[in-house]
């Protein structure tokens, strides 16, 4: 086997190996500390699924070499509006569709705004973050008790199980893999992320692709909002508050190139989300408080980006 190919395979497998190592560490620590491993795993899957779904959709944005900082806030707003709609209609289907619809609209607004003003999309997402955070407070104040909007727990109890959540995640991941790898759209997205100038001269519309990316991401955010309601039907200003940052970390953890392009991969989001939750769980097992845990996560994030880009820097430095 050729050296370069082996190196390529190892590079591709590194995130998966990282997940395996974390999983092994969890099993060993769990056995040593005599905790219920099966229950622990279910809990990890439940915690990961929202980030995994949102991150999977967000891969489309990252592939373009851009990013969206407002994903967490968008998840919160979609969940809150979904909750309000459920309380009015008592229909889970309508609630789900509203969650997705709101998230897609937010994504569309971001991309269209960027296109009208000819701005990089991440700039509009920064503005959107402030707007959405304010909207969370307004929605809770106007439609809730002042501090929360509660969907009756009984309404979603039957859905709050690992199998259902995994099925939702699996369907969405398969949809994204299909669009990403087996359609023109996916090919164009990756090419655009790799070289926007050449993509334009190959007939690829940057604006159209950005809009599609934000729609796909919006579907992920909407499903994430729905799963957030299923997991914790009492919605507060803290709902999905850490999702935005967790999605960014998960995508990088999963081996997604920060610059996007041809090497982008959907599975990075899922691997990253599970790895991150496992890491958090392991830190809890070591009795590290959440503050220290966040710092460890941040340090690992920087380390992963450093390792992922060190090859590129090596190529650039001699020049």
């Amino acid at each position: 086997m050729k050296n370069s190919k082996i190196k390529k395979y190892i590079m591709n497998l590194t995130p998966l190996l990282g997940l395996a190592v974390l999983f092994a560490a969890f099993l060993i620590l769990g056995t040593v500390q005599d905790i219920n491993i099966s229950y622990g795993l279910k809990s990890i899957l439940s915690q990961s699924v929202v980030v995994a779904v949102v991150a999977t959709g967000a891969i489309f944005i990252y592939t373009l070499g851009s990013f969206d900082i407002s994903l967490g806030a968008s998840t919160a707003v979609s969940a809150l509006i979904g909750g309000i709609v459920y309380n009015k209609t008592e229909s889970l289907l309508v609630m789900t569709l509203v969650c997705i619809g709101v998230a897609v609209l937010v994504g569309l607004f971001n991309s269209v705004l960027a296109s009208v003003f000819n701005l990089p999309v991440f700039v509009t997402t920064i503005a959107m973050l402030s707007v959405l955070n304010a909207l969370v407070l307004v929605l809770i104040k106007v439609n809730g008790t002042g501090s929360q909007i509660a969907v009756p727990a009984a309404a979603v109890r039957s859905l709050n199980n690992t199998t259902f959540k995994m099925v939702v995640l699996l369907i969405f991941v398969l949809l994204c893999i299909f669009v990403f790898s087996f359609t023109k759209i996916g090919r164009m997205q990756k090419f655009l992320g790799g070289n926007p100038v050449c993509a334009k001269l190959s007939g690829i519309s940057e604006k159209k692709m950005a809009i599609i990316a934000f729609v796909m991401s919006g579907i992920g955010v909407g499903l994430g909002a729905f799963l957030s309601i299923v997991y914790a039907p009492t919605l507060t200003r803290n709902t999905a508050s850490s999702v935005g940052m967790d999605v960014i970390i998960a995508i990088v953890f999963g081996g997604m190139p920060v610059s996007g392009g041809a090497r982008s991969k959907i599975y990075a989001a899922v691997i990253g989300a599970f790895s991150m939750t496992l890491l958090s769980q392991i830190m809890v097992m070591f009795n590290l408080n959440s503050g220290i845990g966040q710092m460890v996560k941040a340090a690992i994030f920087i380390l992963v980006v450093f390792l992922a880009t060190s090859g590129q820097r090596g190529k650039m430095l001699p020049r």
């Binding site: 359609t183 023109k184 996916g186 090919r187 090419f191 790799g194 041809a262 001699p318």
Partner: protein, 506 residues
């Protein structure tokens, strides 16, 4: 051959995966000489010079510089020690000024406060600009201003900035890797002047070019590489065009180099038309009709507007007034041009025509998605691979596999990928800006024959080029541009010469 050897390469090997790039290569470079390196694309010329200049390391063998073992740590390190290389593709940073590019990593030289070598301190920008401008003026590139953003320069001027960046270090050995192909005659003259000055100062130059006439004129000796091996070294008195060509490609060249006929006839149908177009100083009341089955050659100096014309014809640049009509209908943009079967190979290949961080497969497939995607949507890997493999086979792209990154290909093979992207989708009108830049004679000949076949099939081609011989050799009709205008139009003729064209260019 009594001159002192300054660089000695002994039994160098280099592999890229399964590809043997260099196999037991030994070269001697002497003081006071311009040593040429020639060979087909992928023969190993750039690999050997990149190893000498510290861009990459050899897998085996030894090198000596001024009699001492030479193991360069990086290009910067090598340049500091006296060996500098001007690379084939872009080597400047676009987001900073020309002066900052020239003194990249060395702005400490212009510190006002703080000690040199320490990171803190402030830079005297005025002084830096002054020195950069002086360096630009010295090589004859006064038209470039030191304070100008590098991104605002065209490819030729960026290349000149790169040359200044190397020359301010006053190297003992200068490596010029296919640089001249990116330059117009003015730019080429600047490089020739620099090379000759180095020769006079008893320094050495390694010169790589695919232009056989140029390399035979400029060099004192010429080493031919083929498939990673040294085939032969000719001294100046042994230079013979046919012999060099034969040793390069390993066989005698068969058939015509350019097209053999002087019949400039074509169809009556106007397939593409520029009408009263104005675009800054690049196009002024510009009118041009391209007919079915016609090869139109566009020549001129680098800034005459011909490269912009290429973009306008593809819909990538909209004229401020006037229009571009494709088969009588107004062209709306790049996607529209592709729908109308127009293809465009840009001059700046690595930036505008290829995605270097993607595979050969991705680059060829992106042009033909609407050809092989089921219902113009679904991409089936089997169909895609078949489509891409056909282009690779038809154009004989030298590669390990279709998933290989384009960045790992030689210049000529990159250009073949660009051709594959546009020919594969069945383009009826091809706009080719400097199509044979950095391409060896064997591939050039194949490309010319391909263009001629396409013409015979009723396809229309616009060749924009700084190589007049290429235009004269291939075009049915040749236009010479100057200051955004057509200065002269020549029909195809056996008697047309380069000097006929030059008088209208300058």
């Amino acid at each position: 051959m009594g001159k002192e050897v300054i660089v000695e390469v002994k039994h160098i090997d280099k592999r890229f995966g399964s590809t043997i790039a260099l196999n037991d290569v030994s070269i001697e470079v002497r003081r006071g000489e311009i040593q040429g390196l020639i060979g087909e694309n992928g023969s190993g010329k750039s690999t050997v010079t990149s190893i000498i200049s510290g861009m990459q390391k050899a897998d085996g063998g030894q090198m000596f510089y001024q009699g001492e073992k030479w193991e360069p740590l990086s290009m910067l390190w090598a340049l500091e020690k006296g060996i500098g290389m001007i690379v084939q593709e872009n080597g400047t940073v676009p987001g900073i000024s020309v002066a900052e590019n020239i003194f990249l990593g060395e702005t400490g030289r212009f510190k006002v406060f703080g000690k040199e070598g320490k990171k803190w301190g402030t830079v005297n920008r005025k002084e830096m600009m002054k020195e950069a401008q002086h360096a630009l003026d010295t090589i004859g590139a006064s038209h470039i201003r030191a304070e100008q953003p590098t991104a605002s320069l065209d490819m030729q001027d960026r290349k000149l900035v790169e040359i200044v960046k190397i020359m301010i270090k006053n190297p003992e050995v200068l490596i010029v890797d296919e640089t001249t192909t990116a330059l117009s005659q003015i730019g080429r003259d600047i490089i020739y002047k620099i090379m000759n000055r180095m020769k006079e100062e008893n320094k050495a130059v390694i010169f790589i070019s695919h232009d056989l006439d140029e390399i035979m004129n400029v060099c004192d000796s010429l080493t031919v590489l083929r498939d990673g091996k040294i085939i032969i070294t000719f001294s100046k008195e042994e230079f013979d065009e046919e012999q060099i060509k034969t040793s390069m490609i390993g066989r005698e060249m068969q058939g015509d180099y350019y097209r053999g006929d002087y019949d400039g006839s074509c169809g009556d149908e106007v397939v593409l038309e520029v009408k009263d177009a104005n675009l800054g100083d690049q196009l002024k009341n510009f009118n041009l009709q391209i007919h079915k089955g016609e090869i139109v050659g566009v020549g001129g100096l680098s800034h005459c507007g011909m490269h912009t014309l290429g973009k306008v014809l593809f819909g990538a640049c909209k004229p401020q007034s006037g229009s571009v009509l494709v088969r009588g209908r107004e062209l709306k943009g790049e996607a529209d041009a592709m729908k109308e079967q127009i293809g465009y190979a840009a001059k700046d290949r690595d930036v505008e025509s290829l995605c270097l961080n993607a595979s050969i497969r991705d680059n060829i497939a992106v042009g033909g998605l609407d050809r092989f995607a089921v219902h113009n949507f679904l991409v089936l890997p089997g169909k895609e691979k078949k489509y891409v493999q056909k282009q690779i086979d038809d154009l004989s792209v030298k590669c390990a596999e279709m998933n290989q990154y384009v960045s790992a290909l030689s210049g000529g093979n990159k250009q073949k990928v660009v051709f594959g992207k546009w020919i594969g989708r069945g383009s009826e009108i091809l706009i080719l800006d400097c199509p044979t830049r950095g391409v060896d004679i064997g591939v050039k000949q194949a490309m010319y024959q391909l263009m001629y076949r396409m013409k015979k099939e009723g396809k229309s081609i616009v060749i924009i080029s700084e190589e007049m011989a290429e235009l004269i050799g291939m075009a049915d009709r040749l236009i010479v541009m100057k200051d955004g205008e057509i200065k002269k139009e020549f029909p195809r003729s056996e008697s047309l010469s380069e000097s006929d064209m030059i008088q209208y260019m300058i």
